[in-house]
């Protein structure tokens, strides 16, 4: 089968011509892009600091065409990187110089909505918010709501196991999908999951969810839908310190409340958004909390009463309860636009995705402030406080020589800090290329080897998004040497806890 493949050492241009020629035999005109100009839109995803032009881009419109692209990849030994809307924040869809960029944008149809069974079947390029729009007439919605939901694709959500602001109560993507249809690199079309609540055999659905495109290529996703809550209300509370806000978060959970959303923002973040959208945030507060309750009218009234009591007892310096849907959306608008708002006060910013036990939040934020002073880089903190997922935004200027490198180091320190307090380097954005070195700190050799063995079980030739998500042992060895060469621990001048 590989007899016609060029040796891997063939020059890039020769490979490009060969692979493009083969792709053109099975895809319609215009669905194979090779020129630099045509490839430019695909050279990065949401992590735009990393860019790479792919060998070619293929834009299949049907499962048969997608299968043909995988066949060409297999026969020529060419790696494949699948891409949805390109909103990913860890470089998961960053092209490979010698690889096919497989753009799934034409898979943009919702194939079926079944209100009785509360499911919808969508092609992977369908936008997250598009599903909720399509099922809203039935009083249903799709719960996971990443901030990028108007743009991000459901296929990308499955690949990253995306979250959002409602995860504590409603779960992640893995909890809200029923079944997928996918192609393996070997050319098999497989159904993973089941129309029943469970499937026979191993839980392959959990395995492929969050697998960052390394195991299979999705062609259909069946999601579970929930009844839209009758009412939602949000409490906006101010605190005189980040610690006090952190305590209030713990007190809410300790009171037996599982809020629909529980978000924290620090002063730098609220100042940025207030200037941008005028959400009505308290600019005197060191930290604010947004705590949402949803459900039936009776439930929400009862829960909001409890939440306000907890906030008061936890030393809130002031709080407001949304009095209307318009006001609720206004309160949320600040949180939802936090990233672009921060983008306005700095030429560039870098978003981090550590996930930590909630109890460690004060320590971690204090340490981030110390690191911020050490590196001379400002850092705004936006935090999915309910589920422990921290998004520090490091502000930097890419045009200042050395500043991006400093930012990356700062980011790496925060991720390793997350591991140190018992957390993880990525809560919802994925490892991609961005956090691949920190995977060496999070996992030991035997665990990384087990991951590679899992990949080989799905993708024996190793052609699906190779080099992402799971570092090679060689890479970890290099990384380890680099860190050791700097002395024992990075930044011995900073007090550790």
């Amino acid at each position: 089968m590989n007899a016609l493949a060029l040796p891997p050492a063939a020059p890039l241009e020769t490979r490009r011509a060969d692979v493009a020629g083969r792709l053109r035999e099975c895809l319609p005109a215009g669905a194979v892009l090779v020129s630099g100009e045509d490839l430019r839109p695909y050279e990065c995803d949401g992590l735009s600091a990393y860019r790479q032009t792919p060998l070619v881009a293929a834009l299949p419109a049907t499962e048969a065409e997608a299968a043909a692209v995988l066949r060409v990849a297999r026969e020529t030994g060419t790696p494949v990187v699948a891409r949805g809307s390109g909103t990913g924040l860890s470089g998961g869809a960053l092209p490979l110089a010698d690889g096919i960029l497989l753009a799934m944008g034409k898979f943009n149809r919702i194939l079926e909505v079944d209100p009785a069974s509360r499911t919808a079947k969508a092609q992977p390029g369908v936008r997250n918010a598009q599903i909720t729009e399509a099922v809203a007439p039935h009083g249903l919605y799709y719960a996971p709501d990443p901030s990028s939901q108007i743009a991000c694709s459901i296929g990308g959500n499955v690949a990253e196991n995306s979250g959002g602001v409602h995860c504590l109560k409603y779960g992640l993507t893995v909890h809200n999908i029923q079944k997928v249809r996918a192609l393996t690199i070997e050319g098999d079309a497989v159904e993973i999951g089941c129309d029943a609540l469970d499937a026979p055999g191993y839980d392959l659905l959990a395995t492929i969810t969050g697998s960052e495109g390394l195991l299979v290529l999705l062609t259909e996703v069946t999601v579970k839908l929930l009844p839209k809550p009758q009412v939602a209300q949000v409490v906006l509370a101010s605190f005189a310190s980040v610690e006090a806000a952190g305590e209030a978060v713990a007190a809410v959970i300790g009171a037996g409340i599982v809020p629909a959303g529980l978000e924290m923002m620090d002063r730098l973040a609220t100042a940025a958004v207030e200037d941008y959208v005028h959400a009505g945030y308290d600019l005197e507060a060191e930290a604010i909390l947004l705590c949402e309750s949803d459900g039936t009218a009776e439930e929400v009234a009862e829960e909001i009463g409890k939440i306000t009591e907890v906030m008061r007892n936890a030393g809130s310096t002031g709080f407001r309860v949304s009095g209307s849907e318009a006001e609720r959306l206004k309160f949320w608008s600040g949180r939802k636009t936090a990233f672009p708002a921060v983008g306005r006060i700095s030429p560039d910013y870098y978003c981090i995705d550590g996930s930590i036990p909630r109890g460690a939040v004060s320590k971690v934020l204090r340490r981030i402030a110390e690191l911020s002073a050490h590196y001379g880089l400002r850092c705004a903190n936006v935090f999915h406080a309910g589920d422990g997922n921290l998004h520090p935004l490091i502000l930097y200027d890419a045009n200042v020589p050395g500043e991006f490198e400093k930012t990356e180091e700062f980011a790496g320190d925060i991720l390793e800090l997350s591991i140190e307090v018992g957390g993880t380097i990525t809560g919802e954005h994925g490892v991609g290329v961005e956090k691949i070195n920190q995977m060496c700190a999070q996992f030991r050799t035997a665990e990384l080897e087990q991951f590679h063995a899992v990949k080989a079980a799905f993708d024996p030739p190793g052609l699906l998004n190779p080099g992402k998500a799971v570092p090679t042992l060689h890479r970890c060895a290099e990384y380890g040497r680099m860190r050791v060469s700097r002395g024992q621990l990075p930044h011995p001048d900073i007090p550790r806890f």
Partner: protein, 351 residues
């Protein structure tokens, strides 16, 4: 205590070297489940105890040999619960066995299955390596989700040694309602209700009677009760407990018990066997001797799969067969975790 894991790992390595199977055991309450396994027993029941429980984090870490009853007692003291309401099938039931079988009770369709609440797993794979996956945080996408892969793998991919879970507060109020209706009407009703913002937490239908449990804030339960009507079942809690433990008269006697996991909206199966339907139509229990073929056909027609849950022939064909391409991935995963094929071989039919 981590010496214990080192000992387990050593034992697995030694068995792997001579390709001698191991049969992983906790409390021994699920011997009836799955295909008959082979091998020397590998006992985990002494590796028990709560490693960490922080109620304000909603996270619990336990050793795999910990009894479910001990876990539930500790959670109850803090007003919390394992939301998947695991059946025990015996006092000695352990959390390791429960996760290995991915066993969930009546709350499953409305709260999630055992696998949905697993946050992390420490395992010893078939090479005798002590490995940790996932963690103790709610959101974690670093590496493949090996922890959840362990749920329902019946110990064929690794020996579970420690597990972390997300736990939730217990509902403030519960109520059980009963309705007389036939099977088709029941399937329509439970699915219609599930599409509305109602605090459903369980449904079960047998002999023309549908029971529905409501759980949540007292105000929400009261409002839903008024909306749904039906007859109040004062001893409702006992009923759900008996259903969860398969202690209802329906489950008595020696006749084989079949589990058909099907699409919740699938129409009545039309099999002439005693039947109990729970999980909002998604889990249909049937009693009696039957040929494998027609049971599998019925399950497949209802977009699901059939398992011989209890009794009957147990050497092969216990679980629904897999599509060839899916079976191929299973074989390779088994090879990836347990190359010598020594962990509970055959417990999942071919794996």
């Amino acid at each position: 205590m981590s010496d214990f894991i080192a000992q387990i790992a050593e034992r697995v390595r030694e068995h792997a070297a001579r390709k001698s199977p191991l049969r992983i055991r906790g409390g021994g309450t699920k011997d009836f489940l799955g295909a008959t396994g082979a091998g020397e027993p590998l006992d985990l029941s002494s590796y028990a105890g709560i490693v960490a429980y922080e109620p304000r984090e909603l996270v619990l870490t336990v050793r795999a040999g910990t009894r479910i009853s001990d876990i539930e007692r500790a959670l109850e003291a803090e007003g919390q619960m394992l939301p998947f309401e695991p059946p025990r099938f015996g006092e000695a039931a352990t959390i390791g066995g429960t996760v290995a079988c991915n066993l969930s009770g009546p709350r499953r369709p409305y709260a999630g299955a055992a696998r949905d609440f697993v946050l992390g797993a420490r395992i010893v794979n078939g090479k005798g390596e002590d490995l940790s996956f996932g963690g103790r945080v709610i959101k974690n996408v670093a590496g493949y989700d090996v922890s959840r892969l362990m749920a329902g793998a019946f110990g064929t991919l690794g020996v579970l040694t420690e597990l972390s879970f997300k736990v939730l507060p217990r509902p403030a109020a519960e109520a059980t309602l009963a309705f007389e209706m036939d099977e088709a009407a029941m399937i329509e009703a439970v699915n219609r209700w599930a599409g509305q913002p109602l605090p459903l937490s369980a449904t079960a239908w047998e002999s023309g009677v549908l029971r529905v449990r409501l759980s949540g804030a007292a105000s929400a339960v009261a409002a839903a009760r008024a909306k749904l009507g039906g007859a109040d079942v004062p001893e409702g809690a006992d009923y759900w407990q008996s259903l969860r433990e398969q202690a209802l008269p329906f489950f008595g006697g020696d006749a084989p018990l079949w589990r058909l996991s099907v699409a919740q909206t699938a129409e009545p199966l039309g099999l002439t066997m005693p039947q109990l339907v729970e999980w909002g139509g998604g889990q249909r229990w049937l009693r009696g001797e039957a040929e494998l073929g027609p049971m599998r056909d019925a399950a497949q027609k209802a977009r699901g799969h059939a398992t011989r849950f209890r009794g009957g022939e147990r050497t092969a064909g216990v679980f629904h067969p897999l599509a060839p391409a899916i079976a191929k991935i299973h074989r390779r995963l088994k090879e990836a975790f347990d190359p010598a094929g020594i962990l509970n071989p055959g417990r999942m039919d071919n794996f």
